[in-house]
Amino acid sequence: MTAIVVHAAPTRWWHSRAVARFMRHHLALVGIAMITLLVLACAIGPYALPYDTLQIDLRARFAPPLSGHHYLGTDPLGRDLAARLLMAGRVSLLVGFSAMLLSTLIGTLVGVTAGYRGGWVGAALMRTVDGFLSYPSIFLVLALAALLRPSPAMITVIIAVTSWMETARIVEAEVRSLREREFVQAARMVGLSRQHIMFREILPNAMGPIIVAASLAVARAILLEAYISFLGYGIQPPLPSWGNMLNGAQQYLASAPWLAIIPGAAITIAVTSFNFIGDGLRDALDVRNDHF
C-alpha cells in the first residue's frame, strides 16, 4: 500500500500569529542573526583564511590579534588563532547540534510513550527519568569520558545520554494533556494503531514545546562540550574545540589573554544566541500568550 498522505505545509504559515510574535522578539532575531553568522563563518571561513589550523609559524608565536596576517593572533606554537577558532566552531557546533538531535529523539520517544501509555509503563519510564535526573550528570559525563575513547561522536553520545530527560518530561506532560482531547479519541474510534496515534496524530501537536526545548538543548550541549574539553576529557588536541582552546590558554592568561578571551567569547555568543532563540520560540509558540 503506497497510500502515504503527504502533508502539505499549512498554507501561509509565515503569516501566522506565532511567526508575528517571534518577529517582535528582538533578542531572538539577534540570536538568529548571530547563529547564522557563526555557522556561515565556521563553514566557509577555514577555506577563506590563508592559514591552516595545524600550520606552525614559529616566527609569529604569541602574536596578538590584528598583527600582520594573523587576524586574531597566534597561539604558543604560532598556529593561526582565527583558523583554529573557526575549525573549533565546526566541532563544537556539530557536537552541539548532533547532541541536541539525539537527546531530543530519545526524550521525545520516552516522553510520547510514557505520556500516551500512562499506567505502569508511563510510571516506569518517568521514574527512570527521575533516576537520571537525580544523578549528578557532570560526574557521569566525566566518568564516561574518562572510560571511553573520546572522539567527537562519543562526546556527542555522552552529552545526549545525560541531557534527554528534560525533553522527556516536557513531552510527557504535553502528550498527557493531548491524550484526553477528542481528536485522539476520534483517532481511536476509527481504529488507528497505537503507534500511529502517538507519532502521527499527537506528536505534530506537541512540536511547539519540543522545538523550544531543542533550541535550549543546543546551548546546553555546547556548554557541556566546552566543560568536558576544558577539563581535558573531551575533544583531544590537535583537533581544536572551543573548550580545549580554553584549556590550552590557561597558562598564558597573563601574557596572552586573547587566547582565552576569543574562544570564550565564541562560546558565550553561541550559548546566549541559542538561549535567546529559545526564549523567542517559547513566547511565540505558547498559546497562553495568544491574547489580543
Binding site: 500500500m1 498522505v5 498554507t11 481528536f183 474510534m189 476509527v190 481504529g191 494503531s193 500511529h196 496524530e201
Partner: protein, 563 residues
C-alpha cells in the same frame, strides 16, 4: 429598524443606547462589532438581547459596562445611564459606576469567581471597593445577600471556597455579588448557558423574583428563545452586529416581522411530544443489546486511604434495533457521556455485557475489537477539539479507512463524495479544520463517522456546541442520513427539546442509572418518574400552547393504535 423607537422620557428609562457603533481592529471578518444600534431598557423591566454567536451581543454588554478590550472601542454613539452619557467617561468615573449603578453576571461562574477567596470575602470585596459600610455591616449585608439568592445554610456558605459549590450555587453567588450595592441595572451575559435545565429554571426564577422585588432593570443576553419566552418583557434581536428587530416579548415571539427572527424562532427545537415516524425499511434486527453495564471511577490511592469511588454507569440495560434512534438524556454527571464512551470502547467497562450484532464486545481487547471499530462510529461534542488541527480534512477522513486496508484513492473518492453529501464543498478536502466554522466542522465530524458505513452511530452531545439555526440543520442531516443508510443511533444530549426531535425512544439517566425509558410521547407527556417530570417541567419556553395541540393530536394517534 431603529427609526421606529420614540425617545422615551428619561424618567422611566434606566438605560438608553443610541446609535452605538463599536469598531473592530483591522483584519477581522467585519469592520464593526456592532453597528448603529439603539434600544431602551425601561425601569423595572427585563430586556432580552438575543442573537447567534458573533452577533455582537456580548460586545454591547461590555460596552455598557466599560469593559471592552483595548483593541475594540466605541467609535460613535451614546450610552445613557440615568441620563448620563458614559461613552468617553474617564476610567475612574466608570469604575465608580460599575457595581454601584450597573453590575454584571457572567456565563461561566467558575472562572468569574476568584478561586482563592471565600464566598463571603468576595461579596464583601465589592462593597469595600466602593467604600461602602464598615467591616461589620458588610458582613451582615453579605449574609443577607446569601439568604436573598436562596443559598442553603448561609453561615456555612459564607466560609466556602467557590470550587466546593455546584454550578447553580456559584451562579447564585455571582448574583449576590452583583446585587451587593443594589444597582439599578443588572446585565446578565448568558448566565444560564453553562447550567443544566433544572438549575437553569431555578436561576431564571431567581432573577425574575429579585428583579420584581427590587424593581431592578435587567438586560439579559441569551441565544435561547426558550429563555426569552420565559422571562423577557421586551426583546432586541441582533444579527451580525446589527439590530434587526425589537419590540415587546409577546409581539416578537408571536408575530416576528424580520426574516432573521422568524428563522431563529423556527429553528428553536420544540418539545414535540410526538413519536417519530419509524423508518419504512426497518426490519427489526437487533443491533445493540446492553445488559447490566457498569463503570466505576476510582481516583486517589487505595494505599494512602484517599480513594474515591464514583459509580458513573450503574446497571444500564437497553436494546436498539436497526434504523432506530435511542436518545439518552440527563443532567451533567448523570453518566450519559460515560455510557457513550463505554459503548464505543473508548473506556473499558467494569461489568455487564454489550451485545453488538449478537457478539459480546464488552470483554474484547483493543486488538480484537479493532476489526469491529468501523461498524461503530461516534460523532463528538466539540467541533473544535475533535478534529486534529494539524491534519487536512482529507487526511482526517481517509486515515481510518486506509489503516483498515482501503486503498487511498478509493478512500479519498468516498471522502469527497461524503463531503458534498454532508453539505460541504469538495474543495474542503485539502483544507485545515481551522478554516471552517463550528457547524461545518461538525459536518466534517459526521462525514468521518460515515466513512466506514457504520451500523451504529453514537452522537455525544453532537449539537450542543452549535447555534440553534445550525443545530436544526445538523439534526436534519442526521435524520436524512439515517433514512438513507438505516444506521442505528444512540443520541446523547442534555437538551430534551433536541432529543424530542430526533429520537424514537428516550432513556432518562440519573446518577448512572436509566430511570425511565419510553417513546417521546410517554417521556414528555406522561412521565412516570418524578425526576423525569422535573426535567420536563424545567424546559425553558416549553409547555405553552403548542403542547396541548400536540397532546390532542397524539390522542388521535393513540386511539388509532388501539383500534
Amino acid at each position: 429598524m431603529a427609526s421606529g423607537i420614540q425617545v422615551a422620557s428619561p424618567v422611566d428609562v434606566a438605560l438608553s443606547v443610541r446609535e452605538l457603533t463599536v469598531s473592530l481592529p483591522e483584519g477581522m471578518e467585519r469592520a464593526y462589532a456592532v453597528e448603529n444600534i439603539s434600544f431602551d431598557l425601561k425601569r423595572g423591566q427585563i430586556l432580552c438581547i438575543i442573537g447567534e454567536s458573533g452577533s455582537g451581543k456580548s460586545v454591547t454588554a461590555n460596552a455598557i459596562m466599560g469593559l471592552l478590550p483595548k483593541a475594540i472601542r466605541v467609535s460613535s454613539g451614546a450610552i445613557h445611564l440615568d441620563g448620563m452619557n458614559i461613552v468617553g467617561l474617564s476610567p475612574d468615573k466608570l469604575r465608580s459606576l460599575r457595581g454601584r449603578v450597573v453590575s454584571m453576571i457572567f456565563q461561566d461562574p467558575l472562572s468569574a469567581l476568584n478561586p482563592l477567596m471565600t464566598v463571603g470575602a468576595q461579596i464583601e470585596e465589592v462593597m469595600a471597593a466602593h467604600d461602602v459600610g464598615t467591616p461589620a455591616s458588610r458582613r451582615s449585608r453579605a449574609m443577607d445577600l446569601l439568604v436573598e439568592v436562596g443559598l442553603p445554610d448561609p453561615q456555612l456558605m459564607y466560609h466556602q471556597y467557590p470550587f466546593r459549590l455546584s454550578g447553580g450555587q456559584r451562579q447564585r453567588v455571582m448574583i449576590a455579588m452583583a446585587l451587593a450595592l443594589e444597582p439599578a441595572i443588572l446585565i446578565a451575559d448568558e448566565p444560564t448557558t453553562a447550567l443544566d435545565v433544572t438549575t437553569q429554571a431555578q436561576i431564571l426564577q431567581l432573577i425574575r423574583d429579585i428583579q420584581r422585588r427590587k424593581g431592578m432593570s435587567v438586560m439579559f443576553i441569551t441565544h435561547d428563545f426558550g429563555v426569552v419566552a420565559e422571562i423577557a418583557d421586551s426583546v432586541v434581536v441582533m444579527e451580525k452586529g446589527q439590530c434587526v428587530e425589537q419590540g415587546g416579548a409577546e409581539q416578537v415571539l408571536k408575530s416576528p416581522s424580520h426574516l432573521y427572527t422568524r428563522r431563529l424562532i423556527a429553528a428553536v427545537p420544540h418539545l414535540t411530544g410526538k413519536n417519530r415516524i419509524p423508518l419504512e425499511t426497518a426490519e427489526k434486527i437487533s443491533i445493540l443489546k446492553v445488559e447490566g453495564l457498569a463503570k466505576t471511577y476510582r481516583s486517589g490511592s487505595a494505599l494512602f486511604g484517599t480513594q474515591r469511588i464514583v459509580p458513573a454507569v450503574n446497571g444500564v440495560t437497553f436494546d436498539l434495533t436497526s434504523g432506530r434512534t435511542l436518545g439518552v438524556v440527563g443532567e451533567s454527571g448523570s453518566g450519559k457521556s460515560s455510557l457513550g464512551r463505554l459503548l464505543i470502547k473508548l473506556m473499558e467497562c467494569d461489568g455487564g455485557s454489550i451485545l453488538f450484532e449478537g457478539r459480546d464486545i464488552a470483554g474484547l481487547s483493543e486488538t480484537e475489537f479493532r476489526s469491529l471499530r468501523p461498524k461503530i462510529q461516534m460523532i463528538f461534542q466539540d467541533p473544535f477539539a475533535s478534529l486534529n488541527p494539524r491534519s487536512t480534512v482529507g487526511h482526517i477522513l481517509t486515515v481510518g479507512p486506509v489503516a483498515h486496508g482501503t486503498a487511498y484513492r478509493a478512500a479519498a473518492e468516498r471522502a469527497r463524495e461524503l463531503l458534498s453529501h454532508v453539505g460541504l464543498d469538495t474543495g474542503a478536502f485539502d483544507r485545515y479544520p481551522h478554516e471552517f466554522s463550528g457547524g461545518q466542522r461538525q459536518r466534517i465530524g459526521i462525514a468521518r463517522a460515515l466513512m466506514f458505513k457504520p451500523k451504529l452511530l453514537i452522537a455525544d452531545e453532537a449539537v450542543s456546541a452549535l447555534d440553534v439555526s445550525i443545530q436544526a440543520q445538523i439534526l436534519k442531516l442526521l435524520d436524512q442520513i439515517q433514512r438513507e443508510t438505516g444506521v442505528s443511533m444512540v443520541f446523547i444530549t442534555h437538551d430534551l427539546r433536541v432529543a424530542s426531535q430526533i429520537c424514537d425512544e428516550i432513556a432518562v439517566m440519573h446518577r448512572g442509572q436509566i430511570i425511565e425509558r419510553g417513546p417521546p410521547s410517554q417521556i414528555f407527556l406522561d412521565p412516570k418518574s418524578s425526576y423525569t417530570r422535573e426535567l420536563v417541567a424545567a424546559i425553558p419556553g416549553g409547555q405553552p400552547g403548542s403542547m396541548s395541540q400536540d397532546e390532542s393530536r397524539l390522542g388521535h394517534q393513540r386511539q388509532g393504535e388501539t383500534l
